[in-house]
């Protein structure tokens, strides 16, 4: 072993084996894998919860559960899906891919990286534990306010809410530390010649995500801290009797909450062009335009939060401001859509599973985005707000845009990570079943929402029955389809045809120059980027 190697690894000790390896690892690939596995597990946990909900909503009347449990399930579903399925999946990719893409030896702060991950299981435990405690007669179950924590309902709620607040704190620390790590890695560990304007778009997407996280997560932390003191230490931030204002909480929450929706999608928007270009065998179109669009969306994201609280009684000026600023986000997004389509335009496309998911994501997210534009209209929002129309909108963005985008990434990169090709046939089945069942689940929710069905209700009037039944059937098919995903992933980890270094014919970038799977420590000598 040469001295240079020594400097690289620290010391020649072999890493511990078994569970200890995972608990103590500082390797970006190990940590990335843990993020991805955790995310997969939590996706099923969150999905199983909402399947219970959809079963209750299958027909009018109270069949399976009391409203208390129902309210807990929807809020925990949302928190689990967003914070423990979608965000960790994206962070897992970041850990795996950013060092490979920019030619870095590892993440810049490896121990911090491990800490960021290991904060997640405790957070999940805190969030879910009240369900179990309630069975033993301690407390009244998990957070029952929806994922938005609105005061004063959240001041009234039981101990599950305190657990959720503390879970949010741990998640927040994890996200901020993870983001710092990513920013530092990108700033400091790029290979010579890898200038900012050569960074792969996935890295750009994550860089902006990290900036947004650093900016908005602390505000959420502050907001839930105030909630905690209102609950237990006698403050009056959100209580009019003491001069406070419940709407203040909503402003603080959505100052975080709106950027959050882009936080979960930026990594996907970053990786989409990689997939499109690989399977169209054609370079990315409009690289610079996409980078600038990222910046514009990132900046706009922190000034439009008011569109979530348009019925709270803001002044006319505020309504108009939030309406127009929200509408303007469609412009940079149209740039992204334009570039995506121009990337496949006149290419030579093939349609392997990653490509199918990427294309499906674009079409379905298009529906989510365009309905978002309609929601932005302050007057008509009075009709949509807190109705199932909004639920449909955000599943078209979060599930179709987020989860399907992540799945495209999984199929795209899994062969690189495991060294085995995926089962294309099963993966294609997974795609078509998911796409069809997804629409069956959520398209009816647009109609039922327009017709006047509010969200977060365990029971509803008879006129909504048919659409809800369709939606529930769709949800169960959708859930079953995800079992296929599980099978494909497990099969690919356990074996399969070996994958070459360049897994996909048209794929470009540093990550495709190293073997599949890459060695534990990748760039022992730094690659130099040409031109």
């Amino acid at each position: 072993m040469t001295t240079a190697d020594l400097a690289l690894h620290g010391s020649p000790h072999a890493p511990p084996r078994g569970l200890m390896r995972w608990l103590t690892t500082t390797n970006h690939k190990d940590i990335g894998t843990m993020y991805l596995v955790f995310s997969l597990v939590m996706f099923f946990v969150g999905g199983a919860m909402i399947l219970l909900v959809r079963a209750e909503l299958f027909q009018p009347g109270m069949q399976m559960m009391q409203p208390e449990l129902f309210n807990q399930l929807i809020g925990v579903h949302a928190l689990v899906m967003i914070f423990m399925a979608l965000m960790p999946a994206a962070t897992g990719f970041a850990n795996w891919m950013i060092p490979l893409m920019i030619g870095a030896p590892d993440m810049a702060l490896p121990r911090l990286n491990n800490w960021s991950f290991w904060l997640l299981p405790p957070a999940a435990a805190l969030l879910l534990m009240p369900f179990a405690l309630a069975l033993f007669g301690v407390g009244s179950g998990a957070i029952a306010t929806g994922w938005t924590f609105y005061a004063p309902l959240s001041v009234q709620d039981g101990m599950g809410l305190d657990f959720a607040i503390l879970a949010i704190h741990l998640l927040g620390i994890s996200s901020v530390m993870g983001s710092i790590n990513i920013v530092v890695t990108v700033f400091n560990l790029r290979a010579p010649g890898m200038t900012f304007m050569k960074l792969p778009l996935f890295v750009w997407g994550w860089l902006i995500t990290a900036f947004m996280l650093i900016a908005v997560i602390p505000v959420l932390a502050g907001a839930v801290t105030m909630l905690l003191t209102d609950r237990h230490f006698g403050t009056h931030f959100f209580n009019a009797a003491g001069g406070g204002d419940p709407i203040l909480f909503q402003h603080l929450f959505w100052f975080f909450g709106h950027p959050e929706v882009y936080i979960v999608l930026f990594p996907v928007w970053g990786l989409t062009p990689h997939i499109l270009s690989a399977f169209a065998r054609k370079p990315v179109y409009g690289y610079r335009a996409q980078v600038y669009a990222f910046w514009v969306i990132g900046i706009l994201s922190v000034i439009v939060w008011g569109h979530h609280i348009m019925t709270s009684g803001m002044s006319t000026g505020a309504l108009l401001y939030f309406m127009y600023s929200t509408m303007s986000i469609s412009l940079p997004l149209s740039v992204l859509f334009f570039c995506w389509i121009a990337t496949i335009w006149r290419g030579a496309m093939t349609f392997e599973a990653p490509m199918l998911f990427a294309l499906g994501m674009i079409v379905l997210f298009g529906i989510g985005g365009l309905t978002g534009l309609v929601l932005a209209d302050a007057a008509a929002d009075a009709q949509y707000h807190h109705s199932y129309f909004v639920v449909a909108h955000f599943h078209y963005t979060l599930f179709a845009g987020g989860i399907m985008g992540i799945m495209a990434g999984v199929y795209f990169w899994l062969p690189k990570m495991t060294g085995h090709m995926i089962d294309e046939i099963l993966a294609k089945w997974h795609f078509w079943l998911t796409a069809i069942a997804f629409n069956l689940t959520f398209l009816p929710q647009f109609f039922v929402g327009l017709a006047g069905m509010p969200r977060r209700v365990p029971d509803y009037a008879l006129q909504f029955a048919e659409f809800n039944m369709l939606s529930s059937i769709g949800a169960f098919v959708l859930g079953a389809a995800q079992l296929l995903f599980l099978i494909v992933v497990v099969k690919c980890i356990r074996g399969g045809p070996p994958a070459p270094a360049k897994v996909w014919e048209g794929a470009e970038g540093l990550e495709w120059t190293v073997p599949s799977p890459p060695p534990h420590h990748t760039f022992q000598t730094r690659p130099v980027i040409g031109e």
Partner: protein, 279 residues
């Protein structure tokens, strides 16, 4: 760029991060139980605090040892600097949430409550206030202890910079003296603040429950005080290392990280002085 030849230092596997996460889990769990009247929580918290203390010593200790062993060169040093800078940025946003709250309450919700005569007849809606149904209290005046504390913190910023000069010019006495002085000023600040809190609680009717004035006052100054405490502990650690002679003019990130933090805490205080005490 000669340092690129040498490779980046990637530390070995370490038990500390996962232990720290575990400790924080137990701490959070204990706290949640404690505030919900489940007294077992206290024991969880005590155990967790011990674990976290152990981890912090171990983790920072190993980083310092690696540094002394010459593992960290310019490349790694830059990572630490960027990391610290972005960490402070996130802290800025944490305080921004509370300042935003203060502005919102003062300029939007309290005046609006003053106009809501249908519900709060006779309420004037002027700042400082403990709200339409709040208790009477005396607001904190700016030109007594707070002004003195401003002076103290400003001088501590000077003294820490003076210590830095000492470090750069390899004047050991100036380094150690400057650090010691800074810590002393920090403690003096905290002492005054404790006195001020005591006075507020016992004589001015000003407490956490004193409506939005009390809530914003104590949360803003309290979180600031907490940061001063953390900064002072950091400075003490740096002082210890300075006495051991760990720092050289071109390798002293530990010192600078804490110094940045100290300046950040200082700037927050200036904002507090202007917006909480003075205006």
């Amino acid at each position: 760029m000669s340092e690129t030849e040498q490779g980046y230092y990637v530390p070995d596997s370490s038990p500390y991060p996962a232990l720290l996460a575990g400790g924080m889990f137990v701490l959070a769990l204990g706290f949640a139980l404690q505030i919900n009247d489940e007294p077992v929580g206290r024991w969880f918290m005590i155990a967790a605090a011990a674990l976290i203390g152990y981890v912090l010593f171990g983790w920072f200790g190993s980083v310092i040892a690696e540094n002394q062993a010459g593992r960290f060169l310019r490349w790694e040093d830059r990572s630490f600097r960027w990391g610290m800078a972005w960490f402070i940025a996130s802290e800025v946003m944490f305080f921004a949430a509370f300042f935003g709250t203060l502005f919102y309450l003062r300029n939007i919700s309290v005046p609006e409550l003053g106009e809501t005569q249908l519900i709060w007849p006779g309420y004037r809606g002027t700042w400082p206030t403990s709200g339409p149904a709040g208790q009477p209290f005396t607001p904190m005046a700016a030109w007594g202890i707070p002004a003195l504390n401003t002076l103290i913190l400003l001088s501590s910023a000077v003294s820490v910079t003076w210590a830095h000069w000492g470090l750069l010019k390899q004047r050991r006495a100036q380094l150690i003296g400057g650090l010691a002085l800074t810590i002393a000023l920090g403690c003096l600040f905290l002492g005054f603040q404790a006195y001020e809190y005591h006075h507020a609680y016992t004589e001015m009717g000003l407490n956490l429950g004193a409506g939005v004035y009390g809530a914003t006052f104590f949360m803003l100054t309290g979180f600031h005080g907490l940061h001063v405490t953390i900064g002072a502990i950091g400075l003490a650690a740096v002082l210890g290392r300075a006495i051991k002679g760990h720092f050289t003019p071109d390798n002293h990130f530990g010192f600078e990280g804490v110094a940045w933090y100290w300046h950040f805490v200082d700037v927050v205080w200036l904002m507090l002085f202007v917006f909480v005490y003075w205006m």
